[in-house]
């Protein structure tokens, strides 16, 4: 059956298990032959999973007694984290999508296992831009945590990875000597990971120099010969994954 004959309402009924067996089978068959339909179903499932995981753990009220201990296990949270990433990936299209498998995803545990499996079998090099546009200390700290997590995850999975940290506007403060509290941490990160490169937007440096009336001193390892816009558009055209902080 042609993809266009299925409305999104119908696909919602399908993913919510509200159709009778014949109708479900018919859609299942169509999915096998129709990648566009598969993608539509995957996106709907991704939305459903994101809603579910967004409230698996919520802040407790001071008055709340009794906790669902089963939800606090570290393992489940790993699964939830992986599920969230996978669901976002399904939605935005940056996870390699083995839809035939992902159609069957039902629980956080399943998703985690699927994600692990996907990671293990797909060893193509990942190229990621971490775009830092804020000078906010906690956000920069979070960006560095994010970078370290990404490097550790891919190292563990044996997947080659290249990470470019591109700073822009106030974000360049992250790489400024005498301004950034993270210079030592960043130097250590680059020292231990040859696949990490640092860039500071040339235009942002010019603007800040004009504003402050003195030269901006960047870390030695920071490349400063291009604007962030140039750096990012070059990479996006080559299919890099973009993460903005």
């Amino acid at each position: 059956m042609n993809n266009k004959t299925y409305t999104d309402e119908k696909l919602n009924l399908f993913i919510d298990d509200q159709l009778d067996t014949d109708e479900k089978d018919e859609i299942r068959h169509s999915i096998l032959d129709d990648s566009e339909l598969r993608e539509r179903v995957c996106q709907l499932k991704a939305v459903r999973e994101l809603v579910a995981y967004a409230y698996e753990k919520v802040p407790e009220s001071d008055c709340t007694n009794g906790q669902d201990k089963s939800l606090s296990s570290r393992y489940l949270w790993k699964g939830i984290a992986a599920s969230l990433m996978l669901a976002i990936g399904m939605l935005t299209g940056w996870v390699v999508n083995d839809a035939a498998h992902s159609m069957e995803l039902a629980s956080a545990e399943d998703v985690f296992q699927y994600y692990k499996h996907t990671e293990q079998v797909d060893r193509a090099e990942r190229k990621i831009i971490l775009h830092v546009t804020t000078g906010d200390i906690s956000a920069v700290n979070g960006a560095l945590d994010e970078a370290e997590q990404l490097l550790a995850s891919y190292r563990e999975a044996g997947t080659p990875m290249k990470l470019d940290i591109v700073t822009y506007k106030e974000g360049i403060n992250m790489l400024r000597v005498g301004v950034s509290p993270y210079v030592d941490r960043i130097e250590e990160l680059v020292e231990h990971n040859k696949n990490v490169s640092l860039y500071a937007c040339m235009r942002s440096i010019d603007k800040i120099e004009k504003k402050e009336g003195k030269p901006v001193v960047m870390m030695e390892k920071a490349v400063t010969d291009k604007s962030a816009q140039e750096l990012i558009s070059e990479r996006l055209q080559k299919g890099w994954i973009y993460i903005k902080v």
Partner: protein, 182 residues
């Protein structure tokens, strides 16, 4: 003897309520995004459920019955506040400390803020379906609307979320964006 039987039944029902408390709280939170309010709504639901226990004819419908009380309490609250459709100012979404990991908190924050932008009627239905796991028929019972309306609300909610989660990433309206451009 009847008194003892009633006592046992009441104790069992109380336990049933207690077992469901955590999930009720999380569903209430998904509607109001406010911990104190979610807690009040659940407390109120528990009290009403205990008082009205006699009206529960079939134990199998306990869940839909409880969530219907919860939803009614929530609507009562909105009516009192004079905001029976939208609710934007009670959220405490800046508090994401309960989410352990930076990356998780960014994604969870992003999804919750997308849900918070939904009209309330869509938010209620989509959380009852996707988070609480109710069937369309059960949601129709809880919200007191026809199944067709459940379907159309769910459709609109998911379309809206799909669009928001894609569009927001490109528009810079959220703290962290995950986007692939090719």
């Amino acid at each position: 003897m009847k008194t003892i039987k009633n006592l046992f039944a009441a104790t069992r029902l109380k336990q049933e309520f207690a077992d469901r408390r955590n999930k009720l709280y999380r569903v209430a939170y998904s509607w109001c995004h406010n911990t104190a309010l979610a807690d009040d709504l659940v407390q109120e639901t528990m009290l009403k459920a205990m008082k009205k226990a006699d009206s529960l004819r079939d134990q199998a419908t306990l869940d839909t019955w409880l969530y219907r009380i919860l939803l009614n309490n929530w609507h009562d609250y909105l009516r009192v506040q004079g905001r029976n459709v939208e609710l934007y100012d009670v959220g405490d979404e800046s508090q994401l400390e309960h989410v352990d990991n930076y990356q998780q908190s960014q994604i969870v924050g992003r999804v919750r803020s997308s849900i918070e932008r939904l009209p309330m009627s869509l938010r209620e239905v989509v959380t009852l379906a996707d988070f609480a796991g109710f069937s369309y028929a059960e949601i129709a019972e809880i919200v007191d609307i026809p199944i067709g309306t459940v379907m159309s609300r769910l459709f609109r909610a998911r379309q809206n979320l799909k669009k928001q989660l894609l569009d927001l990433a490109g528009e810079g309206k959220i703290p962290v964006k995950l986007l692939r451009v090719k």
